[in-house]
Structures are given as structure tokens and as C-alpha cells.
Symmetry: C2
Amino acid sequence: MIVIPMLVYASAHSGTNVISAINVMPMPASVKVSAGKLRIYLPFTVGASGYSDRRLEKAVVRMQHRLRRRTGLTLPLGLAAVGTPPTLTVAVKEAGPAYPKFGEDESYSLEINTEHAALTAHTVAGALRGMETFSQLVTGDADGYYFPVVSINDRPRFPWRGLMIDVGRHFEPVDVIKRNIDAMAAVKMNVFHWHLSEDRGFRMESKKYPKLQGMGSGGEFYTQEQVRDVIDYAADRGVRVVPEFDMPGHTSSWMVGYPELASAPGPYELEVRWGVFDPTMDPTREETYQFLDAFIGEMAALFPDEYFHIGGDENNGKQWKENGQIQEFLRAHGYRTTAELQTYFNQRVLKILEKYGKKMVGWDEILMPELPKDAIVQSWRGYKSLDQSAREGYNAIWSTTYYLDHMGPAEYHYLSDPLPEDSKLTKEQASHIVGGEVCAWGEFLSPENIDSRIWPRTAAIAERFWSPREVNNVADMYRRLDVVSVWLEQDGLEHLSSTNRMLRQTSGTEDLGPLATLGKIASPEGVGTREQMNHHGTPSTQLVPLVKLTDAVVPDPPYRRQFAELVDDLLNDAPKFSLGSEELTKTFQQWRDMGPGFGALSAKAPVLSNGSGRVLELQKMGSAGLEALNYLRTGTAPSGSWKETQLELVKQAETPDVSLLRLPWLGSYRELILAAADVGSLRKMDRKEWKQRVLNEAAKLEPAQKYTW
Amino acid sequence: MIVIPMLVYASAHSGTNVISAINVMPMPASVKVSAGKLRIYLPFTVGASGYSDRRLEKAVVRMQHRLRRRTGLTLPLGLAAVGTPPTLTVAVKEAGPAYPKFGEDESYSLEINTEHAALTAHTVAGALRGMETFSQLVTGDADGYYFPVVSINDRPRFPWRGLMIDVGRHFEPVDVIKRNIDAMAAVKMNVFHWHLSEDRGFRMESKKYPKLQGMGSGGEFYTQEQVRDVIDYAADRGVRVVPEFDMPGHTSSWMVGYPELASAPGPYELEVRWGVFDPTMDPTREETYQFLDAFIGEMAALFPDEYFHIGGDENNGKQWKENGQIQEFLRAHGYRTTAELQTYFNQRVLKILEKYGKKMVGWDEILMPELPKDAIVQSWRGYKSLDQSAREGYNAIWSTTYYLDHMGPAEYHYLSDPLPEDSKLTKEQASHIVGGEVCAWGEFLSPENIDSRIWPRTAAIAERFWSPREVNNVADMYRRLDVVSVWLEQDGLEHLSSTNRMLRQTSGTEDLGPLATLGKIASPEGVGTREQMNHHGTPSTQLVPLVKLTDAVVPDPPYRRQFAELVDDLLNDAPKFSLGSEELTKTFQQWRDMGPGFGALSAKAPVLSNGSGRVLELQKMGSAGLEALNYLRTGTAPSGSWKETQLELVKQAETPDVSLLRLPWLGSYRELILAAADVGSLRKMDRKEWKQRVLNEAAKLEPAQKYTW
């Protein structure tokens, strides 16, 4: 575990001021919106001109089903017969690669006028991307549904736009994987990086080494048939599947069945704790490479993608240092560090990959002298390794700022860039930054809550990967994200429904009352804080059910922005303080009155009871919020230590507690407290000046956001 | 389509007055609850004594996973090693049938004291039922989780406790079927009746006649591998799978690929309309029976259950009457009616079933002179056919009052009994009533809303099938149903989450505002009303997306009871009228103010706009409700025509409109209006007398509930 103080995320008003006229995400490279509407009159037909195949046809039907479900209109399904002039013409020049390929042409153009729509693409992949744009453009008005008149020319900024899901720490069934692939395709992502093995689980069926899944998975693994099905499913949607088998570290699960792979004698057990562990493959024995040759050969035949991820991260070197034979090997080869020995191991693995026609991807630890130039380095430890890779001529992908388990807001991820404007790379070097990957590490992911950890934040990152760098207005991103987030539910994603369902399951009631409030306004602490807190109590392991309040609430809840807007409206409305005050009053009353309801629920469902401290703080903040509104409206400053008491309360609410619930709107709440405390100054100065003074004071008190992993 | 005025459903206070001390559904045959708690201290182990097998082990692990998710406790998984004294001992005498069998022993007893729990059963099937009871008993208090001390002896009242799902009219994917089987098992149902073919779709893969699914399903069918998987899944949970291939009518989908089966020349197309259609198998050609012999042989090998459902309903005889050759066949055999010809057909099919070792089940039209005594008659047209079957010595199952598509309340189904107390059958005859089946017909079912149509109402019917007839207190049923409904979500059922998700999908926003209110307080009109309304406008077909408001809202929403309770509290609190008035005020304000929000949403999502009439009525009823509260609290009777105006409004709101939204609490609302109009009388009489007077007047105005199918 590495703990790094991270970039402070930007305020809701950073980025350029471009507000888009359409609700599409990712924003296309070039959009011109004109007056006029292409009305959906039945039959609204789709026809192909030029190249067409089964993949295109299936995509057309999927699009038609989605449009049906959105509009309730009985749109015809399938491609219209040749000859009849269709409403939407899909013109594809050529097939493009049958299996999606790194760097393939994904560009398209979409011309919609009041009579007709035309989607043009070089390849089927481009048409798939264009159909996602087309689907997102559907709009309604009092006269019915329509598409706006637009002219769009679009192509991705980066060719590698990935999402990594760690199924090693917690297994995720095939349906979870599929619905996430659907969502990826909806926002034009094209690489599903499947992190298939970990100390805690080996999730892939090997027919050559059946003890891998047989003893290393607790029965939770994918059959080869399921994997083939997922690969086909993804390919249909223009998504590549890159498997990762992490080695030589993170391999406890391999060694349960095959202890001879390890650098220390067995037996080994499946690891259920979190963290980095010692078991590491023995790089000095030829048998290790014979095993890997057979295993990689088997996997290479299964996964059609040209890239193969070998992990390579977080080898702590302990087993190597403690093994006399390995130490002798180091001396014999003149290696001074275990890192050099890992380079040797990687070189051997690389030969195996090459034998089976695969190129290597690895975490940035693989960056080493003899790495071939067609390898790809996945940077997770900062820009240093990313830039170094690019300077040395390696293609590199950026993940450092896309770790979802920090539970940071979408805007933090959105504003970080694989190739920032101030990058020192030359143009040629910069061309080696080929994209990025969102990382969903699995310590606290269950099939029940994984969707809400990945989405909708990943849609914002998808825009970073696809759209021009200049598309970076945070307010506009959030406006569109709220819309796209809802559409992302269309193929089964549960990110908007899981919170209340999980709260129902633990509380045993449909009437959630204060739990529903908590589910809306709280977010989970990040992995670093969670692990720290866990070290103080019962250690958290793979076996602990993920059903606590912190597991149910979502990161970056829209409520943070809604509350900020209410406070902003209120302060702008000085000295009347009327705007937004009704809503805020209701909110604060709700908080103030949460206690009895929460108490009654948690008395019957003790799993909820660790939230009682936060709820008590909310009750107090509700009362104080009502007082603040009163001070503001009457223009009377509070007496005595009110301000200090309230600021102390905010500080307490900002401090992680056993609930692992974060209240992400505390900054706005503090503004309200400071405004109330300072309402007397309004008489002495302009209201804008006064507001700025309040905000400045609030900014000073804002704690630095740290993300850890 | 048959339209029959049905039993008026009973009020919420009918049935006996037994209020149960536990939240289990179905209520066990005998329960004794004592003081004391079996606390869940870790490790909370489960061990087997006596017979044990893989099916039992898997069920134990499923139970442990559920208990983990409810409690957040890291309960150990699997059976504890022999020797260590477990917390729960599961003692099974013998395996029982490997595949669940009609009439098998499902009894069990459960003894929980403060130290230990013991589940005893003759067979694994009984243990499965007992584990469902055990799971439902888990409870929490301030000190943690526990099981109450109970002594339970339990066995089913009826051996055939079924749910029929029609996948012919709309296809339902395997995951939908599986989660419904999970829910069935949770409430101890044991027959999944799979209605696999219809005019609108043939959903089963036949390898012998691949054009059945190839041309008759629109690509939506189950592979044999999937069916085998579902059968295993169900068997693991003690649920039998009985396939139905409806014949000789309801067979358009067969004839698309095999027109030679029909009694009139083809070609045939897949039917997309609702209703009863003409295409019927030709019972006079030997080729028909050769086809059926091969097909039934193939299916008989796939489905292990001893029963095979041949449908047999709703043959309109038209094709037979219009076919000269068939008419000649009638004359030659001396048949006077097409019903007699169908008897001949059934006899021939029966021979085929017997050849493959299957017994026949059919809709009550199969009741015919030469039906063998081991056939089962499924009564759907009333007690007449049920009783006749029993009198003639046939086993019979009851479905007439369990048609979910009427969208009636759970209590209506709950209080109807396969063998009512006043049945005229002798004891021997009564023994032929072997159970019942809930019927989920598919005209308006989609994978998105099917769960909410089936659940939780089916849990109440499951209690009717399992528990003693005397367990019939409606209030207690609803109290437990609300709890069980939440637990039913545990394996993926979407009945509590689908409404808001569907409303988000059509409105495009997470902030549902007035739509959320509508989603809570409205219910869908039944199939009869829906078809009538559709005849006035665009005909409803299989192709129309099921995404309207009426498709999203749920039948028998808890709100009906919640609102009734508020009004009841208020009237009981005469002449203060304080109890419940705060909540009612909030409610009525919400209704009054729905207009602008609903207008804004439907302006962008025209698919919602057919709800505007109902919303306008709700706005008016909100205003009038506030007026009523005011009249009551001030003791001032309204002037002039207020009462008539409001009653007229209620009547209008009771009348089906294009929205197909029903407001199932209008009866209680009318009570409120009548109370307000009559508040002056309170001075002249006792408040109980006054309330009764109001209720009497309201009862007179209550329209009779009709269910149609």
C-alpha cells in the first residue's frame, strides 16, 4: 500500500466555460447544432448502405431496443430492406478488424437534418461509436420525440480507453461483467482489462492446471466457455478484452494448488486479508517457466487480443531474499537487487508471450532496460513512470489518477489528464501516451455495489479519454453526467438502485426513512481511510460481508452539488436570504429529526448501529443549520461561542469514524455557518464582497483532500 | 377472453383475529414461541447429523450467505466438521426423491432454545423448507442478532403449490426465471409451471424440429442446455419444473415453421396481437401425431418431472369447422361438437405421453369422459370444474382466483381457497384438491416489470397453499408480507426497485419528483380494462414497449393500506381530528402541487403524457383533501355543492382513462370527503356512531370490484 497526498480536486467551476448544447457524453470532437428537429414518425427505419455484417446488424437492433424503451414507440427492429429510403442511413466503408484492435479507426460522422440522419464511418467500430452518440441525442418535447439537427465529426483522442475490474479480491459473476461492458460501450470505452488472479483468488478455469481454479478460487471462477462468451459479447460492442495474470507476486492463489511455483516451501492457503503478501514465483527454476509456457499458451489461445497483461507490481522481494538458492542465483548473475531479478523473470515471460504471438502489458514496474518497444506500460505510480516510458519510446497508459477506490469525486478524475497541457514531452514522445485505464480494485466491491463504485464516475473519465483536452468544463460535465448516468441503467447497471436495495436488505423494511436520507447525502470513505480504521478494530478481510452503510452509499453523490447550489443561491440572495431557504429548512429539519427513526431501525438491525455517531452529528448540524438560517434572515449575529461550537462540530463530522461515512457537502455547510456568524458585516460592505469574504474564510478551513492507495 | 364478475375482495379486517408472534411466511402449521433468544455468536456453525448430500450442503451455504448479508456477520460457510457441536443441527433421516416429486414428504420440525437450534426432517426437501423458516426467523435487537426460542412443527396443506409463468407472449430470460424460482423456494412453493409455447412465440429449442424455435420465436427461446440448467437450479431448491406446450390451439408459432400441422392452409405468421386465434392443429391427420410423438419424446427426455402439461384451453374450433375434411372426420366418428373432436385429440396425445412415461396435466377443458385417473385438471374457469374433477376422482389444482393480471390486491387472492370451508365435497373428494397455481400471464410482462407483477402478492398465495386454512387474518398477512417482500429481494428480485428505475428510464432523470409520488400511490389497471381501453385507441400488441406509467407502477401498493390507516386514525380522533392530520396535510399538499413538475417531465418525455388526466385529478383531490381537513378540524360543514363536486371527482378518478392508472385508495379518500361533509352531525351523536355512519355511506358508494380475464 502506497500513501501519496494527491492533487487537490478542483472546484465545481474549473475548466473552460464551454457549455454544450447537447447531452452527449463523451462530447464529440466537433459538434455543430442547428435549429430544427428530425421527428420520430413511425416507421422510423434504419438502413445500411455500403458494408454491413452481423455485428452491425446486432448493434442496430440494440439501439432500436433502447430507443423503444426510452420513447415507448414501436420502432421497427432490424435493418430496413434495401430500396426503401430509411430514416437513418448507416454507411460503412469496410469491415475493419473482425476482432477489435488497438488503434483501429473508430471515427464517424453524423449528419442529422429535419428529414433524415446519416451516420458515416470507415469501419463497423466507427459505426458502433456513432450509434451511441445517436442514441444519446434522442429528445422529447410536447409534440413527441425527435433528434436535434446536428453535424458531428468525431474521433477518439486516445486509442486505449480502458476499465480494469479486479475480480481476484472479490469475484464478480458474468452478468456483472456484461452489464459493465454495456456501460463501457455506451461511453465509447474500448478495453476491458480483466484482473483475473490475485493472492485471494484465481478466477480462470485452466484445463492444463485445474488446481489453479480448483484449489485457488473457493469455487468462484469463470469457465472457459463463460470467458469465450464474454469476449464475444465485448467484441460485439467494440470492446477488447485484455486478461491480466499478475506475476511473480500477488500469486498466493496459484500456490495453493501448485506450491512448487513459490520461492518458499508450502503449503499455501488462500489469502483472505488485504495488503501485499510474500508468496512470489521462483524465477530461478526452469519448471516455473515450463508451467508458465503451458499456462500462457492455453490462455493465449483463449483470448484473441494481441495484448496480454502480466501484472508485475508490488513484489516485495521477501521470499527471494530469504531463499538461499535464489540469493546464489542473484550472485551468479551479478544482480544486485531483487528488481533486477524481476527483470530477468519478465524477460523470460516475455519470450513466452512472443512465442504465442502476444505483446506484453504490465504495471509500471515492468519498465526495464530490455523491454521490447511494442510493450505497453501501465502507469500507476505517477507521471514520472508515464513520462519516462514515453521518453524511452514505449507506449504508455495512465491510471494513477483513475483509482476509483479513493472514492473521490468525478471531477477529480475528470480534470486529470493522461497528457496534461503542461506536459514536458515532445510531440513525438507524447504520441506514446496512448490512453488510460480506470481501475476498480476489489477489496470492497461486491456484485451488489460494484456498479455504483464504477459508475457514473467512469463516464466522466471516458470523456477524458475520448474528447479533446479542451472539453473540461466541470459544471457542464456534471450536467451531462446526471443525464448519462440515468441512461447507463438501460442495460441493467444497478448504480442508481443498489443503495436503497442494500439498505432495505439490512434494515428489513421498505420504509427507509432516515436511512434513505443517509443513503442520499453520505458517501463512503476511501480505501486508505477504511484500512486505517479497520486496523483499529476487527480487521477487514475478504470474508466480511460488504453490507454496511459505507458499502451501500455511493461516492460523489449528486447531493454534494445540490446542497452547494442551495447554499450558493442563499448567499447570493443576501440580505434577504430567501432563495433556497425553504428547501434548506426542510433539509435541516429532516436531519434534526433523524435520531428516533434511525435508532428504531438500528435497534432491530445492529449492522447499522455504527452509523449512530454520524447521525448524531447530522442531528446537531440540522439544528445549527436552522439557527444559521434564522441568523441570516433576521440579520442578527449569533452570540458567544456559537461559531466555534459549530466549526468544531464540522471538524468532528469531517473526521473519519467507525461508520466510514463521509459527508461530502461539509464545505458548503461550513460556508453557511461562517455566513451566519458574519451576517453583521453585511451592513458594512457590498453583498458580493461579503460573500467572497465568507468563501475565503471557508476555503482556509477546508481540509486538503488526500487520496491513498 | 372471458369476463366474469368476481368475488368482491374482503376488507382489510376480515379473517380470524390471530396475530402471529413471528414474521414467517407461510405461517407454519404449528408454532409455539417462548421467551428467550438464541444469540448469534461467532462462529455460528451449522452441522448435519444423519443423511447429508450435495443438495443439502448447497442449501446450507445459500442460507449462510443470506444470513451474512442480513447481519453483516462473518458466519462460517458450509457444514461444520463432524464432532464439533454445531449451533444449528440439521438432522435428515433419508434422502427422499433425488428429483423433487409430487406428494413427497416436505415436513420438518424446528426446535430453537437459547443454546442451540435443531432442524429435523424426514427428507432433504423437508430440510430445505425448514431452512427457509429458520432464515426468516433471524431478528435483531440492541445486543445483536438472534433467533427467537420457538418450537415449530410444519408440513404443507397442499402438495402442489405452483407458479405458472407465461413466456410465450413475452419472453423472459433465464436470469428472470431463476430469481423467481429463488423467491418461490423462499415461500415454500414447489412447482414452476413453464408455459413455453403460445401463438406469439415458441420458446423451447427442439433439435428434432428446429423450425419451431427457428421460425417461431423471433430469436427469443431457451436452449436445451439453459433448460437443463434451470431444471437443476429448481431441483436444488426443491422446485419441480412442469413444462407446458399448449395444444391444439394457441399454436400459431408452431405453424410458422410447420404449416402442415394446422387445420387450414398456411403460410402462418407469428401472432403479435392479444386474444384467442384460429390456428389449431389438425387432429385428423396421422402426421400430426407422428410429429407430436417425436417432439414430446424429445421433451420428455429433457424434463424429468412425471407430469407434462398439454394446455388444451381456448380452442375456438373455427379452423375445424371450416375444413371439409375435418368435418367429414367428425361425421365419420359420430362426433357432434368440436369439443368431442378435441377429446379424441387429447386421447391420442395421452397415449403419446404414456409412451414416454408422463402423466397429463391440462387446463380444465381436458376434463372428458376417458381421461385417465392419474391426470391432473387445472381449474381456471371456476369451482364448477374443480369440484367436478374432484367428484370424478381426478386430482385438481385451483387457479381461477390466482390470475395476477387482474392486478387485484393480495388479500383477494389470499382469502380465496382451493378448498373453501363451505365446500360441498366429501372428505374423499376433497382429498383430490391437491393444491393450486398462481398464473402470471404474459401480455403485459417484461423482464423489467415481471417481478413486481408476481411479487409480493404470490407470497400471500403461497401461504394459502402451505398453511392451515385457519391462517387467514388479512392484517397479519399484510404485516408479514411487508417484511417478507423485502427479504424476497435478497436473491435479485426487482419488485421493489423496478418502478423507480423504469420511471427514470422514461423521464431521463434521477430526480423523479411527482413521478415518484405517482409510482408510490398508483397501481396498474387489470388486463381486462387495459384491453378494453386499447380497443379504443392504438391496439396493444406484443411489439409495443412496456414502458408506460401503468407498466411501471405496482399492483396492490402498500400505500393503499397506509392511506387507509391515516384516514382511519383521523376519523377515530374525532372531534379533534389531529391524529394523522400532519401526514395527510403533507400528502395533499404534494398532490396539489404535482402539476408543474409532472408537466415539465412529460413535456420532455411524451411517453408520460397520458398520465396528465390522472395527475390533474390528483391535484384537485389534494386541494379538496386540504379543505376536508380544514372542515373537520374547525367543525364547519362545507357549503353548497362541495360534497357532490368532490364525490363526482372521485367517481371520475375511479373511471379508467388512457393512463391505465388506478388509484386504489379512493375508497378511503371518499370516507374523508363524506366525513368532512357530515362533520356537523358530530354534535348530534356519539363519535363512534358518527364514524360508522360515514363508513356506511362510503360503503354504499364503493363500486364493485370486477376482475376479468
